[in-house]
Amino acid sequence: LKQEEAVDLSFTDFARRAESRLRHALVARYGTETGRDAAAEALAYGWEHWDRVGTMNNPVGYLYRVGQSRARRSFRPATAWFPLPPDDHEPHVEPGLPSALAALSTKQRTVVVLIHCFAWSQREVADFLSVAPTTVQKHAERGIQKLRRELGVTDAD
């Protein structure tokens, strides 16, 4: 968003567009419980300080950092927690997948979950996290390799 547009953008419109991105990114990083709470805290912060946050070049990126600091401060995210899939979930998900995701490095997990669970493009992840697309690709590949080893699935697919 350009700065002039951002000034005019109401928080409602911003929240409508940014809520899912912020929530997905924090869930990818901290797991569902802490991630969602941190996203709600960050959005509430954004609303309270919208006169300032609304004029920033990248408000959602800023709120992502607010969410990270909330998560560190309030929710003690020692390990990311991911829910077990229901037994009858279709298509089938290995019960070992949540813990395998939790065991990835923070960067690998964030990138893998955003790209493969939440269907972001590599470019979107790179822009959101303000890192080079090649870095995103590297983390994604290593994360997937590690998941394959953990879950014992082959490269054949």
Partner: protein, 397 residues
């Protein structure tokens, strides 16, 4: 045989979406109100259209709560906890009498196992309600404020409902305790429908002694005057209230109610093909349907958003009699969270739906319909109980 890893991850995305669903505006509002109560910080909130009423109430209240503090020189930037203990507090003041007569800390934080200091509230007709009288019996306590729209009315209705159902194994006590106003409280409970003890405590004693940092709060106090459990927030507190009373939140104890379990709360711009007729939840429009009686069909995607707010949506088929329609009009008028509209191809003459719950009826002439409305309006099934049903789309009769 393991499914392709990419397919599994993609599939797992829907699990994550269900477990960490869309964050609604009402939730942000709750966070902000709680934070402001906690830090007592001054300052107007920026505008968020559609929230105006609840926010205006919250802002005014924060001002009202804060101004006395400023006058007494404590200042508006007092830290949330550990307020400076001034020299006027004598050593004796750090101790007080517990619910069962023990000597306890005068100021405690509400945590399981803590023995809490007792206090006294009074009913609107000035009958004292002494917490010490509950010694020897477990007590379910609801701390709220009459001005707090999202934790006043609907939560009190649920509290009364649980009281009615709970038998006499447990005492119930609701207290209006942060800047209470007896006129507001009277208008909340004024119709005489309340038999559960509702008190008012205007000295800020409970807030101080129990370190109440945000409302609503529910406290399960053991027979020995120790805290057993504490619940914060409307959704958690309503669920706990029904559990305490032994009420089945799946059906509300009403015959024929079907529970559809967890459902997505996502917002979508498109039309949705719902599995139930009429839908009981799922992806829905950004804007909800205004509550009231409609003679014309309404859009499902808007009605589902209303269900999310704790609304009961009653749909009727063309074979509904004029007596049925009169009953439905009366129900729509009786509660600002009831939505009534015609719906073609219903499986029965009348279908009442709440979020994830449904009751199919051949006629409006059954007590089960009013029971369904009573139990599920702003009930524990709703993702956002108590959120508004005005300011959306549609003009009811």
């Amino acid at each position: 045989m393991p499914t392709d890893l990419y397919a599994q991850l993609q599939s797992y995305g829907t699990v994550l979406e269900t477990d960490a669903p869309h964050i609604e505006e009402a939730e942000l509002e709750r966070i902000i109100i709680t934070r402001r109560l906690r830090t007592r910080r001054l300052g107007p909130l920026p505008e968020w259209p559609g929230w105006a009423i609840a926010l205006a109430v919250a802002v005014i209240t924060v001002l009202v709560v804060t101004i006395p503090l400023l006058l007494f020189g404590i200042g508006g930037e007092a830290p949330p906890v550990n307020e400076p203990s001034t020299t006027t507090i004598s050593p004796d003041a750090s101790q007080a009498q517990g619910v069962c007569g023990d000597t306890v800390q005068a100021t405690v934080s509400l945590e399981p196992g803590v023995m809490v200091p007792s206090w006294t509230a009074e009913t609107l007709d000035s009958t004292p309600l002494d917490l010490a009288d509950t010694c020897g019996r477990p007590t379910w306590i609801f701390l709220f404020a009459d001005w707090c729209e999202i934790c006043g009315g609907s939560a009190l209705v649920a509290f009364q409902g649980a009281f009615d159902a709970s038998g006499d194994q447990i005492d119930f006590l609701a207290v209006d305790m942060i800047e209470p106003n007896s006129e507001n409280l009277a208008s909340l409970i004024g119709n005489g429908g309340y038999s559960v003890p509702v008190g008012i405590e205007s000295g800020g004693v409970i807030e101080e002694a129990w370190s109440v940092e945000g409302i609503p709060v529910w406290v399960y106090l053991g027979a020995d005057g120790r805290v057993v459990d504490v619940y914060h927030g409307l959704s958690e507190g309503l669920t706990a209230t029904y559990e305490v009373a032994g009420i089945d939140i799946s059906t509300g104890g009403i015959e024929g109610v079907v529970d559809y379990g967890a459902i997505s709360t996502e917002h979508v711009g498109r039309d949705v093909d719902y599995p139930q007729v009429p839908p009981v939840g799922g992806p829905h429009a950004d804007i909800w349907q205004n509550c009231g009686f409609y003679a014309d069909e309404i859009r499902e995607e808007n009605a589902v958003h209303s269900l999310e707010h704790g609304v009961v949506w009653i749909t009727y088929r063309e074979d509904a009699t004029s007596s049925d329609l009169d009953s439905l009009r009366a129900l729509a008028e009786s509660d600002d969270h009831v939505l009534v509209s015609p719906y073609p191809d219903l499986p029965a003459t009348i279908v009442a739906s709440a979020w994830s719950r449904q009751l199919t009826l051949e006629s409006a002439d059954t007590p089960r319909l009013a029971e369904f409305v009573d139990f599920f309006v702003s009930g524990p099934q709703a993702p956002e109980p108590g959120a508004t049903c005005e300011g959306g789309v549609g003009s009811p009769e």
